[in-house]
């Protein structure tokens, strides 16, 4: 496996090998699936949407609907106006969504299609909406596409009536439905009425009922998005994905926001709970305190199997930041922490975590790739890998225990239903990490050392 990867690191400036990111449009498509009765639409050639629906379905094991402008060579020369016009008509006729969320692609961006004017000229049926955002695939990563689609929805739909809706907006960042359910549960325990945006629960974790619902009863509704401007405040989670949308709400409607990391691990979840406490002005209920105590108890109980073990963590920047914090809380040493997303804020944040826990000799890098990570590991190995499916190649090549988290996880089932957010998510992740390390002890030890009690 990966037998051609040399140990010696050679600086590369042009060749990306084994990326740890993908392109903006899939993020926009994913974001739009978290809106009720929304048809995501890719303005480009039809291969893009085929790939995007495929990777999302493979991760969530759910349908991922989306349409395409199906550019041909002619459209690429003369512009995609008529493709979009035809597509929008057909989508409303055939699939009857409440809203179509258009995103661009490298193709339509390169030829400079002006979506603002195309959409302004559309004949949109009464009561229906068409929104868009620009997602040039050659800038940033899928995380920016997700962020851009949020601001796209908000710039078209939000309003301020002047009367507060009494709700707090939660921007979860790129998250599995299991995580969003966890956020809702915590908000409910903290007595904070919320608007979750986007909200993939009920959509990307739809139950088996024997009847396929093209638009399942999940997702943020259009009125909810519209009333984001009337929210008391925004709790934005994960800076790389959620800061831009939060800033937009502040600028556009003067809705204040608090920017927090995604609540992964004890202290990041504490920050989220403390923010909600400020909103609700109520004490934290025992149920949450109990979960927190259970997570800390678990960490202390198992510490000797975990402490000082080296871990490499990779994936999307906000998720990786949270996982790094959790790893440090557990006493792991995050030897290498990388993301493919080209955002230097990531490196700063991770370095701050290194300082906070006084770990030295650890590396954080944005705009990196899994080939580079693998080469680092070849030079100085780690005891554990945490990240997305593609890490399994390195795990197999170097025989390293591997815990899956983040996007995409294409090779396991049930993950999207389960949380990594919140104290409960922390318990789940900690259990997985401890288990992976201890399974390795059992596998590698001599027969006489195999412990029945550990």
């Amino acid at each position: 496996m990966l037998d051609l990867t040399p140990k010696e690191v050679m600086a590369r400036t042009a060749l990306r090998i084994n990326p740890c990111k993908t392109c903006q449009p899939v993020g926009a498509l994913f974001c739009a699936l978290g809106v009720r009765k929304c048809m995501p639409h890719s303005h480009g050639s039809q291969g893009c949407v085929s790939y995007h629906r495929t990777v999302l379905s493979r991760h969530f094991k759910e349908p991922a609907i989306a349409a395409s402008s199906s550019f041909t060579e002619g459209a690429s020369v003369f512009g995609g106006r008529s493709n979009l016009t035809t597509a929008v008509k057909n989508i409303f006729d055939m699939y009857n969504p409440d809203i179509i969320a258009v995103h661009t692609t490298c193709l339509s961006e390169t030829i400079g299609d002006d979506l603002n004017s195309y959409i302004a000229d559309l004949k949109i049926p009464e009561g229906k909406k068409v929104v868009h955002c620009n997602t040039p695939s050659y800038a940033g990563s899928h995380i920016m596409g997700f962020s851009n689609m949020m601001t796209g929805f908000m710039s078209y739909l939000t309003k301020k009536t002047g009367a507060s809706n009494g709700k707090t907006a939660i921007f979860p960042g790129w998250a599995n439905p299991g995580d969003i359910r966890q956020l809702k549960k915590i908000c409910s325990l903290m007595n904070v009425p919320i608007i979750m945006f986007p909200d993939h629960t009920g959509v990307m974790d739809a139950p088996m009922t024997g009847k396929y619902e093209f638009y399942p009863e999940g997702g943020t509704t259009i009125p909810e998005i519209a009333s984001l401007g009337d929210c008391k405040g925004v709790v934005a989670l994960g800076e790389i994905a959620s800061l831009a949308p939060a800033e937009m709400m502040k600028k556009k409607w003067e809705v204040p926001f608090v920017m927090l990391p995604q609540p992964i691990g004890v202290s990041f979840t504490d920050q989220f709970v403390m923010a909600l406490r400020l909103v609700s002005k109520t004490e934290v209920p025992w149920e949450l305190e109990e979960q927190r105590g259970q997570l800390v108890d678990l960490m202390i109980d198992a510490h000797q199997w975990v402490y000082g073990k080296k871990v490499a963590i990779f994936g999307d920047p906000d998720t990786v930041e949270g996982l790094t914090s959790l790893a440090l809380e557990m006493g792991l040493v995050p030897k290498y922490v990388i993301t493919g997303t080209p955002k230097e804020e990531f490196t700063k944040k991770i370095n701050r975590l290194f300082s906070k826990y006084s770990v030295t000799d650890c590396k954080a890098k944005a705009n990196s790739d899994l080939f580079e990570l693998h080469q680092w590991i070849k030079n100085e190995p780690v005891d554990l890998l945490i990240g997305t499916t593609y890490g399994k190649q390195i795990a197999k090549a170097e025989d390293i225990p591997f815990v899956r988290a983040g996007f995409p996880v294409l090779d396991r089932y049930g993950g999207p239903l389960m949380p990594i957010f919140g104290y409960e998510g922390g318990i789940r992740m900690a259990e997985k990490i401890i288990g992976a390390l201890m399974d390795r002890e059992d596998r590698d030890c001599a027969d006489e050392d195999l412990e029945i009690v550990m």
Binding site: A14, R16, N18, T72, M94, F371, Q393
Partner: protein, 528 residues
């Protein structure tokens, strides 16, 4: 069934109806070949299942060549999505080179789009050569490349000079043509122009073949090679599953080409025949009966009594070994119906395996097939070219005066021909070309086939509607399904899917029982 077709089409408004009616047929007679519209533009917004030209070139044809460093030139997405996701299995040859588990991309940024990406591509090739020393680099272009005018062929030529390797540029931008099919054609052209015929490794035996259009999904190609080898037939090269640049160079020296996937590779089969005189034979190693027939055809082609006898021995031995299993699976599956949308011949091939298991195919079609894949190659002269097809280069090859060798088949076997899918289907079957999400759901609901074979984009919606759905592009990560052993795997996987206990749990008990007035524990029933 005709009723199902009409009801489906009735849902379309006038313009879409006019477009789709020629792509959807209900077969009115057995063995007939009504005309179907195919290989035309998908209508924007309908949620076609199709992919793009890049997917056909990089994803399907050149990506599986294991000893080639295939660099995607473009923004990161296209390379990422086609990284390790197609199950074209490969084991390295003696040189140890296997790039199949890697993804290489120029990861173009905004400045590359503005100022051109050729420099970055050149640098990327330099870096690939320094790191991996490949014998061959192939460059696959994504949408922006053609638009910004990067000349990937020129970059390839410069790289060849600079590094002394083979480098080939493919202009397979996603917007070209109307589907993956354009990419197959572009890939075929490049391999024919720059690879096939450049080697001189002669086959070791009298009976040598190339397997064309076999991508070794789930190890299918390996099962075919195993069987062929048992029969005494040498496999010179495979296009392209577990195939290599090294083998492909000498593909023109094989005695016969056997073609699995007609759509993706027929161009090369034809061009080799024209240039070198090598005949090609359409085969089908999916299904027990069709595997036996295909082997017998190959035997007949070579006309060697020893080979023919050996093939019969192998058939007898292999079929005896799987007889009990197949009988058991037939007992579990007979009488069931299927819908199938897959590949560039698979929707045809699998009908044969389903028949072995006593199942009938009632709906079939393709994403990207042409009329000849449905109706047979005899329609080729009558296919009208449209603007989208004209944009795809057709290369003409001529007889190689020194290397052309036409073998005389020893019997009246028909080579260079393919009858297409529809002739083998029953009356009343529904054929859908370029199927979309709406049609998939409608057909699954109305016709209610027992199993729906298609791809991941449809799988979960079909399954949620209570219909068993099997991915036929990836075999749901199982396989091989080809040949004799594959038939057993397929039968077992179908039994698993149809008989999974959880299907009986879909409806909660409270949906079936009326609300009773009573109290817990008073019914006298025990749960023990």
């Amino acid at each position: 069934m005709a009723d199902s077709r009409d009801k489906l089409l009735d849902k379309y408004e006038a313009k879409l109806y006019k477009n789709r009616k020629d792509h959807i047929l209900s077969l009115e007679e057995e063995g007939g070949t009504p005309k179907i519209a195919a290989n035309t533009r998908a209508v924007p917004g309908v949620m076609t299942a199709r992919g793009c030209c890049y997917a056909g070139c990089k994803g399907v044809v050149v990506g599986p060549l294991k000893d080639v460093c295939v660099i995607t030139h473009g923004p990161i997405g296209c390379g990422f999505y086609s990284w390790g996701t197609r199950r074209n299995k490969a084991r390295p040859d003696e040189d140890g080179k296997n790039f199949v588990s890697y993804c290489f991309s120029t990861d173009m940024q905004e400045s590359d789009i503005v100022f051109g990406g050729e420099k970055k591509l050149e640098k990327a090739i330099d870096e690939a050569v320094a790191l991996f020393h490949p014998k061959c680099v192939m460059i696959c272009s994504t949408c922006p490349i053609g638009l910004i005018g990067d000349d990937v062929q020129a970059v390839a030529k410069r790289a060849e000079k600079k590094h002394g390797i083979k480098a080939i540029g493919f202009s397979c931008e996603g917007y070209k043509g109307v589907s993956q099919s354009a990419g197959h054609h572009i890939a075929n052209n490049g391999l024919m122009k720059d690879v096939i015929g450049t080697g001189d490794r002669a086959p070791k035996t009298k009976f040598s073949v190339n397997i064309l259009g076999e991508f070794n999904i789930g190890g299918d190609g390996w099962e075919q090679e195993r069987i062929l080898k048992r029969c005494g037939i040498e496999v010179v090269s495979v296009l392209t599953g577990d195939g290599s640049y090294e083998d492909l160079k000498s593909a023109h020296l094989a005695s016969l080409n056997i073609v699995m996937c007609h759509r993706s590779i027929n161009y090369i089969a034809e061009m080799i025949e024209e240039k070198y005189g090598t005949d090609w034979l359409k085969v089908n190693f999916i299904g027990v009966q069709s595997t036996c027939e295909s082997l017998r055809e190959i035997g007949k082609y070579f006309g060697d009594p020893d080979l023919i006898a050996r093939i019969e021995e192998v058939i007898a031995d292999e079929t005896a070994a799987i007889e009990d299993d197949m009988e058991y699976f037939r007992s579990k599956l007979a009488g069931r119906t299927a819908a199938i949308f897959s590949g560039g011949s698979r929707s045809h091939h699998y009908q044969s395996l389903l028949r072995d298991l006593g199942m009938e195919t009632v709906i079939a079609g393709y994403e990207f097939a042409h009329r000849d894949d449905y109706e047979g190659r005899e329609v080729i002269p009558f296919i009208k070219e449209d603007a989208d097809n004209k944009n795809i280069e057709t290369i003409t090859v001529t007889k190689d005066p020194e290397r052309y060798h036409k073998r005389q088949p020893s019997s009246d076997i028909e080579t260079e021909t393919y009858g297409g899918m529809m002739k083998t289907m029953n009356k009343g079957s529904i054929i859908v070309d370029d199927y979309n999400h709406f049609e998939t759901d409608e057909l699954a609901r109305r016709v209610k086939p027992d199993v729906f074979f298609s791809g991941i984009k449809d799988k979960h919606s079909i399954q949620k509607a209570g219909v068993v759905s099997k991915q036929m592009h990836s075999y749901d990560y199982a396989g091989p399904y080809a040949g004799f052993k594959g038939a057993v795997n397929f039968g077992y996987d179908l039994v698993k899917s149809l008989y999974t206990n959880a299907w009986s749990l879909v409806k909660p008990p409270w949906k079936n029982e009326p609300m009773l007035v009573g109290e817990l524990g008073t019914g006298g029933e025990s749960n023990a």
